[in-house]
Symmetry: C2
Subunit: 434 residues, 2 copies
């Protein structure tokens, strides 16, 4: 097997980047993945594991011998190590941590103690900090001599003796300054810092807004504990957008590698809640069964009113949910947005009512029926536009995720109003009561 391992190592020497190695692992049969990693031995960079789907990663880590995992974890950046450890169950995690060097273990435990999805979980604890009284020359000499610098870095942090952050110094600024310049003369003290316990989403918003590449992370006493870099933040930004798309589409955090039982767990709850919505809508129709029996055209046309309202509501809801996510909408603007959606509903509804009313009237040779469906459509589209704004705003005010819960509530409103407006109006107009 030593020959096979050598051959494999030679082959893999060309696959330079961990993202490519990760693709290669995902292309393998599940049972071959741990074998592949063991064959590569010390040549396998555990960073590749962070690029895998969670399922694939957990499966591999469970099958690899603990000593292989511990060896691999030694060389990882602290943020990657936390990323891998946080998915494991408590027992496996403790076993690995126990065998790591004591300093690494302390740093990892500190990160893992922070809340999930906090900035501290994503931070790198390996960073460069220098005192303010050093000169530019001293810093550059330190870089040339120090052996254990982080792999890449974009700025140097300036601290006082108690590790309190005084400011930062970008590398390009350092390079442009004369050797004898003191750091305190050129440091940037207006640093946007992130609290370790802050939500990672908040940190991402700071990076986006101020076009940051890295930011210092401080503890509750203002002491520097780590650094967040843009590559971790890019992942956060993507995850957040992804979460909204999935929530609006009624799926949890399932992955393409998930098996059927996991998918069902992710999707069934949404379908279950929608079932109640469907029954509510059906019972509204049930109120008018006598009317429908005498005028079956109503049954044929009623889904049009409900579905057009649903679509218009979805449009307003999508815009509102995204504006909330981007913090673009405030309570102060709500009346203006609501009024605008009502106008849009009235105008779009009016145009569609004209078309749908005409077609329906000709289809059943009954122009009054055309007028009834037109009026019902306008009512439903105005209501849909308003609730498309009100539902996400209300959920947000009660600290619920608007993307998750809005669609179900919205469908309930547009179905109930659609069926009730159309069937009720028809029953009243044609005098065929309940």
């Amino acid at each position: 097997d030593a020959a096979a391992a050598d051959q494999l190592k030679q082959l893999m020497a060309d696959v330079a980047h961990e993202a490519d190695v990760a693709d290669l692992i995902e292309a393998l049969d599940p049972e071959h993945r741990p074998i592949f990693i063991q064959l590569l031995g010390a040549d396998f960079d555990f960073t590749a594991l962070t690029e895998l789907d969670e399922n694939v990663r957990v499966q591999i880590l469970e099958e690899l011998p603990t000593e292989t995992v511990v060896e691999g974890m030694r060389d990882l950046d602290s943020d990657d190590a936390v990323y891998i450890l946080e998915d494991l169950d408590a027992e496996d995690r403790a076993e690995i941590l126990d065998r790591l060097p004591v300093l690494d273990r302390a740093a990892l435990l500190r990160s893992l103690d922070l809340p999930e999805e906090s900035a501290g979980r994503r931070m790198q604890t390996d960073f460069i900090a220098v005192p303010a009284y050093w000169s530019v020359g001293q810093v550059i000499d330190y870089f040339r001599d120090a052996k254990d610098l982080p792999e890449t870095f974009y700025e140097v942090f300036v601290i006082d003796p108690f590790y309190k952050l005084l400011g930062t110094l970008a590398l390009d600024k350092l390079l442009r300054s004369k050797r004898q310049t003191r750091i305190e003369q050129i440091l940037d003290s207006e640093v946007r810092r992130v609290a370790a316990t802050e939500d990672q989403e908040e940190a991402a918003r700071l990076f986006e807004r101020y076009n940051l590449v890295s930011a210092p992370v401080v503890d509750e006493n203002g002491r520097l504990v780590g650094v967040l870099t843009i590559d971790d933040i890019v992942d956060v930004i993507q995850e957040e957008a992804e979460e909204d798309i999935r929530a609006l589409g009624g799926v949890g955090d399932e992955e393409l590698s998930d098996r059927v039982p996991a998918i069902i767990r992710s999707r069934f709850p949404w379908l279950f809640f929608n079932m109640f919505t469907a029954f509510v809508a059906a019972s509204v129709i049930g109120l008018f069964d006598g009317t429908i029996e005498r005028m079956v055209a109503l049954a044929v046309l009623m889904p049009i009113v409900a579905s057009m309202g649903g679509n218009a509501g979805t449009q307003a809801m999508t815009v509102t949910v995204r504006a909330l996510a981007a913090r673009e909408i405030s309570r102060r603007q709500a009346p203006r947005v609501l009024w605008r959606e009502a106008c849009v509903g009235l105008l779009n509804g009016g145009m569609l009512a004209l078309m749908i009313g005409t077609v329906a009237g000709m289809w059943f040779s009954d122009l009054q029926l055309g007028a009834v469906i037109g009026v019902a459509l306008i009512i439903n589209m105005v209501v849909a536009g308003c609730f498309g704004v009100l539902i996400p705003l209300t959920l947000d005010r009660f600290k619920l995720d608007p993307a998750v819960a809005s669609p179900v509530f919205l469908t309930t409103v547009t179905d109930v109003v659609g069926f009730f407006a159309f069937l009720g109006l028809a029953a009243w107009w044609f005098g065929i009561g309940f």
Copy 2:
């Protein structure tokens, strides 16, 4: 007015960052925005305009005197200048370009000649390039003496005399090397480069995959023409995710500052196409009007079958659309994914059929009716799951955007199959024909 301007400048001295200035501008009345900028005069950083909504930016640029705009554009980074110019109409754009210094104009025109949404549109043409035979000391001395360096940079490019890119050199590597080291000894020649004409989305994928902070942009001859940095890419990543959410929700690229006519233009087309879907579904119901007339419970229950199918289909579609966007799904995997969705549809459908069938059967005191709705539900949910995968894959193969067109097609399928399966099955089982 000079006093007012002075006062304003003093106030604004505290608002350091352009993102904050942009927020301030958006909070002003539209007619006050150009006045505010003119009062600030040379103290106003035009970069703030890139942080505004497109509508707000275009309105301001149209109202500002051309000389103010030209003055402001002089100090901008080239990528920000392109960002501002590309939204203007050809006439305004030409007027501004004409008055810019000849070198800036040439660089801007070259970027503007590239296709919209290409990497070249987002690149910065101001970068640092050094020859390979220089030493580390020479490069550092060059930084200390040069006056017109870009504002921030993370790496130095190494070129040959014909501006062909030989490699890159990260600043931290430069800082760690001895002064006498030659650049050619430490440059990184395995650079991931971006073609200027490449789609910005492709460039973003490269940044994400390889955790890049900046990347060189080359022309068709491999010559270095610019640099892409992560802050521009973060915007691209966000825009792309945003586009998918909006497309799935049936809205175009409308902004919160849009007025009613613009919103109607953005939303009416989707509603219009959905109207045809609604009529197709209605005509399926129309086939069974005789059946409904004799058994009005069918009209009450039929929306349940259609809407549960629609929801299940939306779940499968959402996952598929996102997998396509992330390039996670290949044609090779399609049969496996399809089979999995069919299983999920069968199992979720089975559970819901049991519940819905029981409730419906008891509601109308007709257990056979409960069985019929259960079977129709299972059929529709299996079909919905499969089409939720097939529709986006097919659109993608024909180079159409799956996020834009999938929802309409999917609704058509789930409505038609839902109504047809339920009403058809009922007509056959209860022997109440067409």
